[in-house]
Symmetry: C2
Subunit: 418 residues, 2 copies
């Protein structure tokens, strides 16, 4: 069964120029063997009954290496992250088993039958809401990403990290969230005019708490109970999380137990010592809630090697913006000298992952692949140089610069800075 795959493509490519060329979508890759080369033997899977039905399905054993990589602080129980393997996924939904994690003190065990959310502070009537009560309210559904403010922070390092794309940029995931519009509960409590912020507290060991402007809570917040159709996963806030579409992960408070309405932000640890950016001026950027437009080529990407058969490759990746819809993604194969607009997969949704793709012809030439997102506000993802000019080099959070993948003549892909 010798497989002379791609022979005809090699022949086809002998007639083409050496420069990288973007081609129309209709041109298929030739990757085949002829039928005459085949042995007509039934595969083993057809010779016996298969496995039984299951009450709750799991991934194939052949995909057991497609996991969240864990980076945890050994000195603090449950402090760290696990990363979504973005370079292994397709489409836009992140399956629940692979949604990224960021915990400050682990995943609490919360019995939904006793958990309550309390809304107090500057309200006319402080109220509590059980999970059963929340389930009776009108539910709304939103497909959106959640991104940790610390995602991609290796980009601030002086030299480019060579970890897989998801291990650097995978603190972002995209899911269909369903829950109760928070304004229904706030209106029921009666928000007093002096209330401008709320302190949101989690029922975890870290007693994580952050301040959120009341305007966002009233107009966009969802008390999420469901994630991709089923109840939230424990590591994503079971039994209830605060969802603030487009805003950095930390304020999408998991295991939510309390919202205290106040006049001023509380200046908690997680909005002062963390998730702020020290600027060249010496002042710190704080409460920079919306995650700015960003994109990433997930395939091909760092650590991959293009097969030894030059030809047409799909360049594909993800773009997202905390300020609205993605309007455009440009792709470059020459490190940003020239750009071609990629195709965006419909439907393009507000504050959600948008998949882009573009066929790319590679025949062994040196190349630097980049993607650049533009959102509907007109904001364009900056170069690394522009981002550092604006923010300096003391930052640790909110890195959204263009990522560069270098392809060498052997098809090996590295992360570089330009």
């Amino acid at each position: 069964m010798s497989k002379q795959r791609l022979k005809s493509r090699r022949q086809f490519l002998q007639g083409t120029a050496l420069s990288s060329v973007f081609l129309g979508f209709s041109l298929p890759v030739k990757a085949q063997s002829s039928l005459t080369e085949l042995q007509q033997i039934l595969p083993e899977s057809m010779l016996k009954p298969g496995a039984n039905f299951s009450n709750y399905g799991q991934p194939s054993i052949y995909e057991k290496d497609i996991i969240r990589w864990i980076s945890a602080n050994p000195n603090v129980p449950g402090n760290g992250v696990s990363w979504t393997p973005l370079e292994e996924l397709q489409g836009t939904i992140t399956p629940n088993g692979l949604h990224y994690e960021r915990h400050h003190n682990g995943v609490p065990d919360i019995n939904p039958s006793t958990h309550e959310i309390m809304i107090d502070g500057l309200v006319d009537t402080p109220l509590t809401f059980s999970i059963d009560a929340l389930k009776r309210y009108p539910q709304t559904t939103k497909i959106c990403f959640i991104e940790c403010g610390g995602n991609s922070n290796a980009g601030w390092r002086s030299s480019p990290i060579q970890s897989a794309a998801g291990y650097v940029h995978g603190l972002v995931s995209n899911a269909e969230w369903t829950g109760v519009p928070l304004k229904l509960l706030l209106n029921e409590c009666g928000v007093q005019p002096r209330a401008k912020w709320a302190i949101a507290e989690a029922a975890d060991g870290a007693a994580l708490n952050v301040s959120v402007p009341i305007e966002k809570l009233m107009n966009y917040a969802i008390l999420a109970l469901y994630q991709n159709g089923e109840r939230l996963r424990p590591e994503n806030g079971y039994p209830v999380r605060l969802l603030l579409p487009g805003w950095e992960g930390i304020v999408n408070v998991k295991w939510l137990r309390q919202l205290t309405l106040v006049e001023e932000p509380a200046m908690t640890r997680d909005e002062t010592a963390q998730y702020t950016d020290l600027l060249p001026s010496g002042k710190a950027r704080q409460f920079s809630f919306p995650m700015q437009a960003k994109s990433l080529i997930t395939s091909p990407s760092v650590g991959m090697t293009l097969p030894d058969n030059p030809g047409i490759y799909q360049v594909t990746g993800l773009a997202w913006s905390g300020n609205g819809k993605i309007s455009k993604v440009d792709v470059s194969a020459d490190g940003g000298k020239t750009w071609v607009e990629a195709e965006l997969q419909a439907p393009i949704l507000d504050k959600a992952f948008t998949r882009f793709s573009l066929p790319w012809q590679w025949q062994g030439q040196y190349a630097v692949l980049q993607s650049r997102a533009t959102d509907e506000t007109g904001y364009q993802q900056p170069t690394r140089e522009a981002l550092i000019t604006e923010r300096g080099d003391n930052s640790f959070f909110h890195y959204n610069a263009i990522v560069s993948w270098e392809v060498n003549e052997d098809g090996q892909i590295s992360h570089i800075y330009l």
Copy 2:
């Protein structure tokens, strides 16, 4: 901690009429206790670190009963179904662990590194494609439902079954599928003009095979490799399935190994002995591929009991059509005498689950809840009576009539025929 929940709602309702009333969406349910009733004690989850990070997440232990129920034939290994618990889910995406199953001979174990798809028959060049080769082709993504042709077939019985909604209607699920447009491969093989059908065969123990018109394959078929972002689940066709959006499940062939292009359908077992409908005329309806528009109220639904606190309930459910987008869902609380248009959750997608909802005021009166879907072709979901008039009572498949949930004065919900 006495919880005087809903007292204020009961007072509110004393002034309202006894008939069922639909209300605007902005009216919140009053379900609360006052802060003064609360004990200010930290929950146990805050007194210790939580659980560790995980490589692949699982549902909460408190949701362990949210599973696919299995109905299998004990005399045939791996022949049967497992049902999506629709009445327990929200939003529109079915999480991969709960996607319904229909197998004829179990779930085969297929190594993706050796699996191939062969396209032969009336083509210029028969070709085979490995999974690695397929991954290099342009990918397209489609959010759509797949529904077994036998879904809801208990509706053909002479008396209404009292099983949970998902245990009768849950052979339908909705996911984001990603894979290769089949036309790219067909064009590469060169489809001969005489080819009007293809016989699609699975690599399972049943050697399941069906005939599919070439026109659908050329224009709409996807060789799906990914399901909700990650690689297909084994029970959903790993490593590759044929996706024919909107068409009955059986032709969305899982574990696809071969497409043989032919002039006429092969009249296989699964398109003659099954998935056909014997009509009153004595003739059988065959190759009725698109699943007709359908809807179902998932909550409240059969087997549930409304709590002993009359008031406002969210009536919510799912609608879908194999012929396009859902344009409208009407809801009735009086067994179809009067209808109110429900709100549809955006985005409304072609051949995909559409969530509808409507607040409903119930104060202990007898009611019969129904939903009725209309799709963009103008087709409206029929009453049970109309469906039986058209199809007779010898049918077993393709049941899409309006479902009636009877609510008695105690809030107990039963399935009835009207």
